[in-house]
Amino acid sequence: MSPPTLEVRNLRTHFFTRAGVVKAVDDVSFTVARGKVLGLVGESGSGKTVTGFSILGLVDAPGRIAGGRILFQGQDLVGLPDAAMRRLRGNRIAMIFQDPMMTLNPVLRIDTQMIETVQAHQKVSREEARQRARDALGQVGIPSPDERLRAYPHQFSGGMRQRVAIAIALLHKPDLIVADEPTTALDVTIQGQILAEAQKLCAQSGTALIWITHDLSVVAGLADDIAVMYAGKVVEQGPVEQVLDAPLHPYTLGLIGSVPSRNRRGEPLRQIPGMTPSMLNLPAGCAFRARCPRAEARCAEPPPMAEHAPGRLARCIHPHGEALAA
């Protein structure tokens, strides 16, 4: 059996700042198989982006991968020489950023950028590269791609820019895409178009997709599996229906409960008390302790990740297992 597209094992990415060590990613493990979608969910600062950057080899000083393995099709990317990493990036592995201008160069025409990207990884003629670019734009639903190819990024709306960035990510039909909140700034009507493209890609090209978001509702309809992050750790993971319909971790339960549509109209929303702790001084033991309705003395020890069924994990000493009423 061939290995899964991506297997992240006990990843630790830490930032060694003057104020102290920020354990932005601290013992994160998950697997994404070919053609599958993993929703990586968590609130701001929980370590989602740093996880994505770690996979792409984009973590810069003062940060570094302090431990763990990132197996891409069986090959460990941790410690891979820069040149080898660059060959993979943009070719077999691509990232879509929240801000499309992370991908796009504001002073170059769209066609120049796309043709360069094609030719960076493949020996094809300029005309062939242009044809590829045209196809990719058409694929993300940008009308009259010929004319659009000659435009500059600023001539596009936010939604179109994001679709161009996605088209660039798709150029080489990568085996793995890490999409970091790519639709958060977009209107739902445009978000729907982009989610549709993402679904098509996974189904048709077997691309494995990591969709990073703070919005459980987006991954509910998109992902096969969900991993919920809190303060640098995955606190719960499993198949989407199991995590959302029968959450085990009190934090997941709280997150789902605070979604307006899970509450009766006009009534107070169930809310998680307190705030996210500062990553610079996390409480000892379970980081959710101060906000958790089930916390007890034992929670001052770090709770281990417990496997409740194959692929169904929660990091809590007494997981709920309470099925949510629909």
Binding site: S157, Q191, R265, G266, P268, L269
Partner: protein, 345 residues
């Protein structure tokens, strides 16, 4: 829909409008970008169009009501909200505050109208002066307007902070020392300190994490009950709007295209745009659904499509839609929609 209304809602039904908008419009001179300016200098005929940010909106908001305002980015929600709050003058039309034209009000009455309507913004950080301590941010306006004496301002500020869910012992701190959710609470305390009865909330929870968003939404609902507040609640998040609004207005490119009681809009949307929008809202109940998206782009407000602005994206458009602007008409009691399909043929 439940036929038993809770007292505040029943009262709202009967109450007179606190704010009424009549044919309200706002035009901005378009800002030409560098390319366009250059082209113009080289002699190209570049039209300096006006952006019709808000285009003839009629709306009345009764006392005690929560009206949700939704629509895509750039459709004019903030512009409308700022005109309602009296901080942006309309190009055409009138804003009636308790039946009086805002523009006709004398100095004192105009100041009162402005105080009684407060605005809460998406980015609490940008709207809080970073050099002032929280106690100054919250206490300044009530002092200036004589709502409190210098001797009483300290305990007054404490009350405001407590009501917004902040620990008064933190009042000597500066805005940057607070989290996003706490900063939003400071913004709320500041707005409530001048004793308004009407709040315009512009994407007030959009920048907050889900768990904090729920806390702030609960605070808004609690304050509504305690202080008998009226809200214009602007949000692109339909789930949030559905949860707390009594009535919802849907905007598209400067125009109100549908308006109805919240439950009615979500259960029986009439306008093709509303229907498309609702179909795309991600729902946490959904599993492995097929997404589609509303076809086409949000058109440029500089060159809005003729007739019904939605026609290039509307699956039901017909000839008349390209030529004629549909009027907002009643399709059921209290439910208005602007679509030619509603006219008997």
């Amino acid at each position: 829909m439940s036929d038993l209304m809770d007292p505040p809602r029943a009262a709202a039904q009967a109450a007179a409008p606190i704010i009424e908008l009549r044919g309200l419009s706002k035009r901005f001179a378009s800002r030409l970008d560098i390319a366009a300016r250059l082209a113009k200098r080289l002699g190209a005929r570049v039209r300096e169009d006006a952006v019709h940010a808000v285009d003839g909106v009629d709306l009345s908001i009764r006392k005690g009501e929560v009206v949700g305002l939704v629509g895509e980015s750039g459709c004019g929600k903030s512009t409308l909200g700022r005109m309602v709050a009296g901080i942006l003058p309309p190009s055409e039309g009138t804003v009636l505050w308790r039946g009086q034209d805002l523009r006709g009000l004398s100095g004192a009455a105009s100041r009162e109208a402005k105080l009684r309507t407060q605005m809460i913004f998406q980015d609490p950080y940008a709207s809080l002066n970073p050099r002032l301590k929280v106690q100054e941010i919250v206490g300044e306006a009530p002092l200036v307007h004589g709502l409190v004496t210098r001797a009483g301002v300290d305990s007054y500020v404490d009350d405001q902070l407590r009501r917004a869910g902040l620990d008064p012992t933190l009042k000597k701190r500066y805005p940057h020392q607070f989290s996003g959710g706490q900063r939003q609470r400071i913004g709320i305390a500041r707005a409530l300190a001048v004793q308004p009865d009407f709040l315009v909330c512009d994407e007030a929870v959009a920048a907050l994490d889900v768990s904090i968003q729920a806390q702030i939404l609960n605070l808004f609902m609690k304050l509504r009950m305690e202080l008998d507040l009226t809200y214009l609640f602007i949000s692109h998040d339909l789930g949030v709007v559905e949860h707390l609004s009594d009535r919802v207005v849907i905007m598209y490119l400067g125009r109100a295209v549908e308006e109805a009681p919240a439950e009615e809009v979500f259960r029986h949307p009439n306008h093709p745009y509303t229907r498309a929008l609702l179909a795309e809202v991600p729902r946490i109940e959904a599993r492995k659904r097929a997404f589609a998206g509303v076809k086409g782009e949000i058109p440029s407000p500089l060159a809005p499509p003729s007739g019904c602005h939605f026609h290039p994206r509307c699956p039901l458009a017909f000839d008349r839609c390209r030529a004629e602007r549909p009027a907002l008409r009643e399709v059921a009691p209290g439910h208005r929609s602007a679509c030619h399909l509603n006219e008997a043929t």
